[in-house]
Each structure stands twice: as structure tokens, then as C-alpha cells.
């Protein structure tokens, strides 16, 4: 389960996975409600709790939330920018029962990293935060969202992750939803760069075996078949937004007409089993052709509903990343478009600042 504790964040990354329309602070769930949600999630069978945002450290009650989640028996993973957590606070989070820290970095070059995060000095602070995580003894994962601007530096990024003491690195290509879709022209790498990245990862895995685990998330648009998005709708994951709406995936709100239940009105178990939004694309009965008769329908579940909607206009269509989709040409054309777009549209930043020239 992904708990988006808040949409507030000091950074403004152009590939942010939060929706364009952010939940406001005064709408956020209170401490007691989150603690109840964690109990209900554990009772339903949730094992991992990812505390995310926005920046989860923007919540002053993060310590209490982690303590409650640990008490419920959940494995707690803090997904953070590292901004807003000093050593003393990290100690408190660890004592509360935090199991693991996932820290994002934007690039290896400080200036470029700060440009992408929209926050001056962010990279230096992230390095200091990684040091603190090591001192406290918590396991660390570094995650990097790959895009045109940093895809050539995967090797350096991995070296930096090792230097920062990470046990694991997640190299994940940008997913084109929300802000990522808005900034797609400036983020999408060329086909050549993607091919090169694939070779680099294979080599890196061998070279770094035993010192760091590399999780590589494939570039969506460049694949032949779609990703098994969230491992199937309503099958093993759920996402709770800052104001308590429960979604089958974090971008699901982009699909119009779905009725998302709120934890204020229903238990997690009821929402999981009975809410119309979870039932909408669960299993395979909702599928149309070419998915309905496809041998791969239980492998990739037709791909991503949000992407099907965004690129074909109908969330019941096959994800057009799939070569079998009649809309596949749309994706193929996007991939071949070589763009020189440089500027980003960043959340909470004025367009003038976002387009330095």
C-alpha cells in the first residue's frame, strides 16, 4: 500500500507522479484516521507500507504514523527527498520502527540536479541525508527517475549510490502521467539512448553484483508489450491519497467516471472488496479486443488503464504501448519524434522560471 501522506513538497520535479490538481494541506487526513487505515490495511493482508507524498516529512506527525504502522505489523518504507529530516528526526523515525529509507536523487551533477528538482542546494542536502541514514544504520535505496537529461549517466548514478551507502538502486524511466505527461517532450529520451541504457544496465549488474542491487524499470513507450500496471488493477496494491480517497493506482483519478471511496466513509477492506472503482477493471471481464482473446491477458492485464485513456480516449482499450493495439502507431510516432524541448513545467513554479534560456 502506498500512503500519500501529503502533496506538499519542497521540490518540483518535472516528472512528479502526483496529480496536476494537488490536495491541499487542510484537506489532509488527520493522524487518527491514518492510524486506523494502517490497522485495517494490515488486517486485510497488506505487508509493505510505502510512506510517500509529496514529501512525507512535511507531516509533523510522521513519527507517530511510523510508530502506528510498525505496531500494526507493516513493513515501513519512507520515500523521501531527504529535505526536512535532520539527524535528530531520523533517529526518532528509526526508534518509531522505520524499516527502510528510499531517497531520490535527480542527477550526479549538483547544478543539474538542483535545476531538475527546482530547489537550490537540494543535491548537497540529499548527500548529507544519506550520510545520516548510514550513521543511524537504516538500509538505504537510492531511486532515480531517468529521462533524456540524465539517462547517459546511469553508470555515474550507480557509482554515486554505492558511495552514498545504498544497498539498492532503482533506475526507473519516467512514467508519462500527470506532470510527466505534461513534460513528455522535454523528458523522453531517444530510441538510441534507450538502447544504450539497456546495454549499460546489463553490464552494470555484472560489475556491481554483491555490492548493490539494481532494479531497472523499463521505459514504457519503448517496449513491445505493455507493463503489467500495478500487477493488475485491484489485485495486489492500493493507494491512499492525502485526503483519503483509495485508488487502485496513483494515477487512477485521471479516469473520469470512477467512484473512489474515501477512508472517512468506508473501511479499507470494504473499499478493496466492494468499491466500484476497484471492481471496474479487476480481472479480465472488462476487456475488449485485442485483449479479450489475447494469450497475454493474465500476464500484463492489458497494461495501464490510465495510459489507455490518455492516448486512446478509452480506458477499456488495450494499452497502446502494445504492438497488438490498433492505436500503437500513436506511441510509435511519439517515440520517433526527436524533440529538442528543454524547458519544464514545474509544480508550484512560475512558467518563466521553468524555462530558463
Amino acid at each position: 500500500m502506498l500512503a500519500e501522506l501529503t502533496h506538499r513538497c519542497p521540490l518540483a520535479c518535472p516528472y512528479c507522479s502526483n496529480p496536476l490538481d494537488l490536495d491541499k494541506r487542510e484537506e489532509e487526513l488527520d493522524t487518527e484516521t491514518w492510524l486506523r487505515v494502517f490497522q485495517e490495511a494490515a488486517a486485510l493482508g497488506v505487508l509493505h507500507l510505502h510512506l510517500s507524498g509529496g514529501e512525507p516529512a512535511s507531516r509533523r506527525d510522521l513519527e507517530d504514523l511510523i510508530a502506528g504502522a510498525a505496531q500494526a505489523g507493516l513493513y515501513t518504507n519512507l520515500i523521501t527527498s531527504g529535505i526536512g529530516i535532520d539527524r535528530a528526526r531520523l533517529d526518532r523515525l528509526a526508534s518509531a520502527g522505520l524499516d527502510h529509507v528510499q531517497l531520490s536523487i535527480q542527477d550526479t551533477d549538483e547544478d543539474e540536479a538542483d535545476r531538475v528538482s527546482g530547489y537550490s542546494g537540494s543535491h548537497r542536502r540529499k548527500r548529507a541525508f544519506a550520510d545520516a541514514v548510514n550513521q543511524v544504520g537504516l538500509p538505504l535505496t537510492i531511486n532515480v527517475v531517468l529521462h533524456r537529461g540524465n539517462i547517459a549517466r546511469m553508470r555515474d548514478l550507480t557509482a554515486e549510490a554505492i558511495e552514498l551507502g545504498a544497498r539498492r538502486i532503482e533506475l526507473a524511466h519516467t512514467q508519462y502521467y500527470g506532470w510527466g505527461l505534461t513534460n513528455r517532450a522535454a523528458l523522453m529520451p531517444s530510441r538510441d539512448a534507450v538502447e544504450e541504457a539497456r546495454r549499460t544496465v546489463a553490464g552494470l549488474r555484472e560489475e556491481t553484483a554483491g555490492s548493490i542491487v539494481i532494479d531497472y524499470v523499463l521505459p514504457d513507450y519503448f517496449a513491445r508489450y505493455p507493463k503489467p500496471c500495478v500487477n493488475g488493477w485491484g489485485r495486489q496494491s492500493l493507494n491512499v491519497t492525502p485526503r483519503g480517497r483509495v485508488l487502485p493506482c496513483h494515477a487512477a483519478e485521471s479516469i473520469p467516471g470512477l467512484d473512489f471511496w474515501n477512508v472517512a466513509d468506508h473501511s479499507i477492506a470494504d473499499i478493496w472488496r466492494d468499491s466500484p472503482s476497484f471492481s471496474a477493471f479487476r480481472g479480465t471481464d472488462w476487456m475488449q479486443e485485442p485483449c479479450r482473446s489475447c494469450a497475454r491477458k493474465d500476464i500484463d492485464f492489458g497494461g495501464c488503464r490510465c495510459q489507455a485513456l490518455a492516448l486512446t480516449g478509452d480506458p477499456r482499450n488495450a494499452d497502446p504501448v502494445c504492438v497488438l493495439s490498433p492505436h500503437h502507431e500513436t506511441v510509435a510516432a511519439l517515440v520517433e519524434q526527436s524533440s529538442t524541448e528543454q524547458g519544464f513545467v514545474m509544480r508550484g513554479r512560475s512558467p518563466a522560471k521553468a524555462h530558463p534560456s
Binding site: L47, H48, Y75, L138, R167, R168
Partner: protein
């Protein structure tokens, strides 16, 4: 030959937990972004990986408890721990 030295004192890395699954039954190894379903043998081996017992002692203890061939146990447990070590889930 086992993949793990006899005098190594294996333990689960910090952030890796052997946990009973109260909803589905059985046991899981929980790690960052990973859940490994642990079968009965794995559970018995990992429960002894406390950072104090040596690998040699773990093998002896399991062989005695299950009246099993220590060579076979050493091979199986060694393979398991070497695999988890490669995944950075176990420290030797």
C-alpha cells in the same frame, strides 16, 4: 563445499524481516520492495541466523533436530544463504 564459511555468523540484514503472515498463513521474508514466501525449511534456517551462531553450529543444530544428513543440510542452507547474500538480504 558449502558456499558459506563454517565460521561465518549469518544474520538477516537490517531492514530484512522474517515475519509470520497472519492473513495468508505461513511466513514471509520482507525486504525493501520484496516479499519472499518462506517455506518451512527456509524458516527453520533463518530463525537460527541470529548473528551469534556460526554456520557450522546452525548446520549441526538442524541436522540434530531433523535427524538429517549434515552434508545435505550444509549444501541446502549454504545455497540459500549465498543467494540471500547476493540479494543483500543476509550478512555473513
Amino acid at each position: 563445499m558449502s558456499a558459506v564459511p563454517a565460521d561465518a555468523r549469518p544474520r538477516l540484514a537490517r531492514g530484512v524481516k522474517l515475519a509470520e503472515d497472519r492473513v495468508r498463513g505461513g511466513w514471509n521474508v520482507l525486504a525493501p520492495e520484496r516479499v519472499l514466501k518462506a517455506n518451512a525449511t527456509t524458516v527453520e534456517i533463518l530463525k537460527l541466523c541470529d548473528g551469534e551462531r556460526t554456520f557450522h553450529e546452525i548446520v549441526d543444530e538442524l541436522a540434530a533436530r531433523f535427524s538429517a544428513d549434515p552434508v545435505r543440510i550444509e549444501t541446502d542452507a549454504g545455497a540459500l544463504l549465498a543467494d540471500l547474500r547476493a540479494k543483500r538480504m543476509v550478512e555473513l
